[in-house]
């Protein structure tokens, strides 16, 4: 019954559009060409980056305080990551426990002295994730859902550390959109693609900004130079 009703509404909507715009062409190639032309304007319609180098632009953006609740550092190799995580614990006076995304690259590191596991729970304090991409324009890191990437890892802990491989830092959101399009062509689009640019925040009570509304209150980005 609902399906029939839905079909009926579909027909009604399409015929209402057709009646409103009876002269519009439906030649797919023409439409695609017009859509493509629109994207050429992006070059003149996006903000200048703080540096021509994407990594530097992302770092400068975070250091200028333009990404809410976020700090960043660069490390030479992935082997330096446990040391950086330890320093993060010290800075925020946190116990040495961390939920690490369950990928080999992170799990096989020498985490001596730090308690790690990958089972995400409600009251976890610190999470560590591997970003697929970074975006300099917005100071974002991008995560894709997968068997090894629970989306909740990025939302449940109060403190989040995101590792971005330097080679995957893009200049603009447009660059990420092109990559997403390539992923789609291969039929490999993940369920979720999240661009995260700072911590969970709200200004809903008297316009005052509070960090950690539902998700992380503190975000630390670590850029790995040899990745």
């Amino acid at each position: 019954m609902n399906k029939q009703k839905s079909e009926l509404s579909r027909t009604k909507i399409f015929s209402a559009i057709k009646n409103a715009k009876p002269t519009v062409t439906m030649d797919v190639k023409t439409i695609q060409q017009e859509a493509f032309e629109l994207l050429k304007e992006s070059e003149f319609a996006r903000p200048k980056l703080l540096s021509e180098d994407a990594t530097q632009a992302l770092v400068l953006r975070i250091e200028a305080g333009l990404v809410i609740g976020t700090s960043c550092e660069k490390i030479s190799t992935l082997d330096d990551l446990p040391n950086s995580v330890n320093q993060f614990f010290d800075k925020h006076s946190l116990p040495q426990e961390i939920k690490v995304q369950g990928i080999d690259k992170l799990e096989k590191l020498d985490w001596e002295g730090i308690s790690t596991d990958s089972d995400i729970e409600n009251d976890n304090t610190v999470g560590l994730c591997w970003a697929e991409y970074g975006v300099a324009e917005t100071g974002s890191f991008v995560v894709h859902s997968s068997p090894k990437m629970p989306i909740l890892l990025n939302f449940l802990p109060l403190y989040l550390i995101a590792v971005i491989p330097k080679s995957k830092i893009l200049h603009y959101m447009d660059d990420y959109a092109l990559i997403a399009n390539e992923i789609a062509k291969k039929g490999e689009t993940p369920r979720n693609m999240c661009l995260i640019s700072g911590v969970s925040g709200t200004t809903d009570i008297e316009g005052v900004l509070v960090q950690g509304a539902h998700g992380p209150e503190v975000l630390h980005i670590i850029i790995v130079e040899d990745q």
Partner: protein
């Protein structure tokens, strides 16, 4: 709180103006948003180019709406999303409730969506056996207070910190006894966290629908959309058909405009593209994904030459800059969408007959159009609705009589000038120290402010005198 109706606009306005603190509360948020937007635009010299591109993207999609709708449907189905169509808000609401009932849902979490309000989803759940949990902090506050939203970006802006303290103490399981805003936010975090994780169904709106992938996109600062959608077994998206864009690359310029125009930030903290249900072996995510595509007056707007309004990306900049909104607030409009954009939308979602007064609540100063990120000519659209309202005889008889009398009088210049001169003398009788506090037939004006005393003679008289003096002088 008693919900206002759009047809009672005049009464609602009087009620709003009589609230001593309301204007102060509204301006605290809107003035800040105005300043921050100005700064954001100043820091983005390419803003005008972005605006032009954003407008073109929306116009292109609206022009080929049937093509993009069909493409979106095909790609959403290919991703395993179940697509539903609804001509009216009532139909849409019923579809959502039926899905929830099929899954025997008891608890339903919802992230902020103005479309959800528009289709009456909140009331539909409140009249059902299911528990509705609003997860956006502002929506959480107004749900506890039983209020409708008063702004499309800050729905609880009419509620003070003191109100929130009282509400949280009454309703939260483990409330804070502090009155600090940070502690209040923590209290909401504690209260909502378990509800996120035990919800049966997650409902979201969509800021953009991507035709080439069948994806929906949510934009939040709190991250509540992802927490609403990920844990439950079912995700339901409700979206208006005008949310379409051809692809993610076409959504990007609109994302650049949206947050700068709404809050003055350059980007929101969370932008997520949702592509159907969870993939095999995914670590988390809903097993089933539905999308309800809603018309509810949008194709009517297309047919009636109001398609420019379908560009709207719901940033709220027009209301933040509207002198009328800043005086009366959102509730006075009696509609889900207040301010200039609401005054254009409501007559189409409801009817012009009930919402025609809102179209007159505009000074035509043009600020809304100046700040609109997609160049919607709101004053032009409001004027067109006023014309329709006149043609359909929705204006009160007294207004019609006055306007028609003026039209007749304007055709007879001598009589007009004579009566104007009499008017000046009449007004002077009531004038005290340059101001008129009371005068017959002007109570609508003098109830809230004084009327300035007119000049000693009429404009025409002074003009003729000046012209004569000039020609004499030459």
């Amino acid at each position: 709180m008693q919900v206002n109706k759009p047809e009672d606009f005049t009464k609602n306005v009087s009620k709003a103006l009589a609230q001593p603190d309301l204007k102060k509360i509204i301006r605290r948020t809107t003035d800040k948003a105005e300043t921050k937007r100005t700064e954001a635009v100043a820091n983005f010299p390419e803003f005008e180019n972005a605006r032009s591109q954003g407008q073109k993207v929306k116009d292109h999609t609206i022009k080929y709406m049937d093509h993009y709708l069909a493409e979106f449907e095909k790609n959403a189905l290919a991703q395993g999303t179940i697509v539903h169509w609804a001509s009216t808000g009532e139909e849409a609401s019923k579809i959502v409730l039926d899905i929830c009932r099929q899954h025997k849902a008891k608890k339903v979490t919802r992230s902020k969506s103005m479309l959800g309000e528009e289709i009456g989803l909140t009331h539909a759940f409140d009249n059902s056996e299911m528990e509705r949990i609003e997860t956006d902090l502002a929506e959480h506050i107004i749900q506890l207070a039983g209020d409708p939203p008063s702004h499309i970006v800050w729905p609880a802006m009419h509620r003070s910190r003191e109100d929130v303290v009282k509400l949280f103490r009454e309703f939260h399981e483990d409330p804070t006894y502090s009155e600090e805003i940070t502690d209040l936010v923590r209290s909401a975090r504690r209260d909502l966290r378990n509800k996120f994780l035990t919800s049966d169904i997650g409902i979201s709106g969509s800021n953009f629908l991507l035709a080439d992938s069948g994806s929906s996109c949510t934009v939040t600062n709190e991250g509540n959309a992802e927490l609403t959608i990920t844990p439950p077994k079912v995700h339901i998206v409700t979206a208006g058909i005008e949310k379409l864009v051809p692809s993610m690359a076409h959504a990007v310029p609109l994302l650049r405009l949206l947050t700068r125009s709404a809050t003055g930030a350059e980007i929101t903290q969370y932008i997520t593209f949702h592509n159907g249900s969870k993939r095999p072996n995914d670590a988390d995510g809903p097993q089933e994904c539905h999308i309800v595509l809603v018309d509810n007056g949008r194709t009517k707007m297309l047919a009636e030459g109001m398609e420019e309004m379908l560009r709207c990306i719901r940033c709220g900049a027009c209301m933040n800059h509207c002198v009328v909104y800043k005086h009366i607030g959102g509730h006075a409009y009696g509609s889900v969408y207040p301010g200039p954009m609401g005054s254009v939308l409501t007559p189409h979602l409801d009817s012009l007959e009930v919402a025609n007064k809102q179209t007159h609540a505009c000074t035509m100063n043009g600020r809304c159009e100046e700040v609109c990120p997609v160049n919607i000519p709101l004053p032009k659209l409001l004027r067109s609705l006023r014309a329709q309202s006149w043609q359909k005889k929705y204006e009160p008889l007294t207004n019609r009589f006055v306007v028609q009398s003026f039209a007749e009088l304007a055709k007879r210049p001598r009589l007009f000038q004579l009566l104007s001169s009499c008017g000046v003398i009449f007004m002077k009788v009531f004038s005290r120290k340059g101001w008129i506090k009371y005068m017959p037939f002007t109570s609508g004006w003098t109830r809230n402010r004084d009327l300035i005393e007119p000049g000693s003679t009429t404009f025409m008289h002074q003009y003729k005198k000046m012209k004569k003096a000039k020609s004499g002088g030459a």
